[in-house]
Symmetry: C2
Subunit: 337 residues, 2 copies
């Protein structure tokens, strides 16, 4: 991924939410081509700030003391957040003034995902103008996440729709500039569109995260990244000729993108996933027995990582390190952990 | 729940997996009618052993050093586990002998859930005989979880099918006794069947867990337990007249039993649940705005609790305590936490 962005002008801002693991983020930053790190939560940003001097919270952090925690962070590293409302803007600006800090702001545009974000166009430019006129914050640009497009299996459709979404983002960025508002950051993209959004003229950075570990959902696509993590389980029961049960349920590997996939066991397939149990269908002649280890390929990296406290780093089959998943949860990092 | 079992002869063994929270388990034990605590994982048992002298791991703990950890626990508290294979029996018996400990064993019966467990009948009695003949372990009885029945909405069907499943369990227990194998524990049940299995002659304890916190899935049933926990979120975006977005996605409240339910906001309904975002449909005249707090009723207690590190205990709207969710994860309790 670093190689893809090495020639610029678009750069990579790896999304820390995918793994929440400092040892992985350090390697992503060391590989180069990065503008900084992307985070989804304030807790992630509090951990990421020890790794990198430039943090984007690509989300609207509103309520529950979040703005004050961000303002404190902004006194020691460069922090930018997304805003899509006057209320959100006023909250972060007030917190920044209280902390005597300056927080960067991107106006978040809805480029079709229909989640957060204001509509592209003049309304967005008006909000950008309010940002630029507010003390405590600095208008840095716009962002728009094409999350509804990153998983489209058909390459031509994914590419065409992503280009249309990115055109709206780039056009609004230009409208901001035309209104006298400098727009240095135009941030978008994910693992499924890294080489589409990342080649659209005017996009300055891509927020891809899943590429570094991958999962079976992104594995359907034509992206060149290798699966790098698994959930290790043990067969605890072999109650019938064609069924066995392992100790890794959806408290160990989520099913929000489907069941995890059993690696390297012919014909073995997860057929049910309860809290603590994976029920696995196997051929009648399968040699799987109680005590055997199995590797599950998760269907969705981010929430699966979020279930665990550490990653065991392997070289071949040898554990060479244990990496804390340090940015789990929502509490203030320095107080609770 | 304690009142229901107060008159016996069946007792309650609350399932710690539902909440993993010592402060809740202490209250359940103090309320009375309990034989001990039920756990699903060794990590839970390691925490529960500080709360209670009688622990049942109602699961087959095989592999990854689990048997040795159980044997160490069994030197200071009474620990019983479920077994459904010769391999599982040999593993725990060997670990118990290494630790000079005695571990209780229940033979796990498949009463229709088709997950773990041996078939009721003579095969189960043979396994019970092997347990009784093994050094390091003590045969204590049988268990059979009617997990496929606890959620049936129709009371008459739930009751009829549960009675049939429990009859298989009780019959096999009697076959064990007829074979000279004392069968003191006959363990079954969940929140949806607490007053069915708990009134079947011969069932000695019920492993219900969800009753103490409840969720929207069990809330569909005719059980008399109140919802006691919510996920607190904040509206971070109000991008359209009929839509708002809160900061609590399925990393905060799982969707394996459906979307969580918004409490006390007329017409508000979760319409999408991503990693960090709940998209909520609201009536066009809704006064919900950016910064408002919302309470989500989770659809499934156990995996939702498993996402969090602490519970904030409320009296009315006032936080009166912060309770660690101490038994999350799979690592050895004393080493990692």
């Amino acid at each position: 991924m670093a190689d893809f962005y090495a020639s610029g002008p678009c750069r990579l801002r790896p999304h820390f939410k995918a793994h929440k693991t400092p040892e992985i983020a350090r390697r992503q930053l060391a590989a180069g081509s990065c503008t900084g790190l992307t985070c989804a939560t304030v807790s992630e940003a509090e951990v990421a700030a020890d790794l990198c001097g430039n943090i984007l919270i690509a989300n609207e952090p509103v309520g529950a003391g979040k703005a004050d925690r961000i303002a404190v962070l902004a006194r020691r590293v460069d922090v930018t957040i997304a805003v899509d409302s006057v209320e959100g803007l006023e909250e972060i600006a007030a917190a920044a003034r209280r902390a005597d800090a300056r927080v960067g702001v991107l106006v978040d545009l809805n480029v079709g995902q229909n989640r957060c974000g204001v509509a592209p166009g003049q309304g967005a430019v008006r909000l950008a103008g309010l940002v630029a006129a507010s003390n405590g914050v600095v208008f840095r640009g716009v962002m728009g996440y094409e999350g509804h497009l990153v998983g489209i299996g058909d390459r031509a459709e994914r590419e065409a729709r992503t280009r249309r979404a990115m055109a709206e983002l780039v056009t609004t960025a230009q409208m901001c500039r035309d209104a006298g508002l400098p727009c240095d950051i135009v941030s978008a993209g994910g693992t499924g569109t890294y080489d589409i959004s990342g080649r659209v003229n005017g996009i300055t950075e891509v927020q891809a995260g899943s590429y570094v570990l991958m999962d079976s959902d992104y594995g359907r696509l034509d992206v060149p990244f290798e699966q790098a993590f698994w959930v290790l389980g043990t067969v605890i029961s072999r109650p019938g000729a064609t069924r066995c049960v392992a100790d890794c349920g959806h408290k160990a590997a989520t099913k929000d993108h489907g069941y995890p996939v059993v690696r390297g066991v012919d014909g073995a397939e997860v057929i049910a996933l309860n809290d603590e149990h994976a029920t696995i269908g196997v051929p009648a002649d399968s040699t799987l027995r109680v005590g055997d280890r199995i590797y599950l390929r998760p269907s969705h990296t981010d929430p699966t990582i979020n279930l665990h406290d550490v990653i065991y780093a392997l070289e071949g089959d040898r554990v060479v390190d244990v990496w804390p998943i340090a940015a789990r949860g929502y509490a203030e990092h320095r107080r609770v952990r």
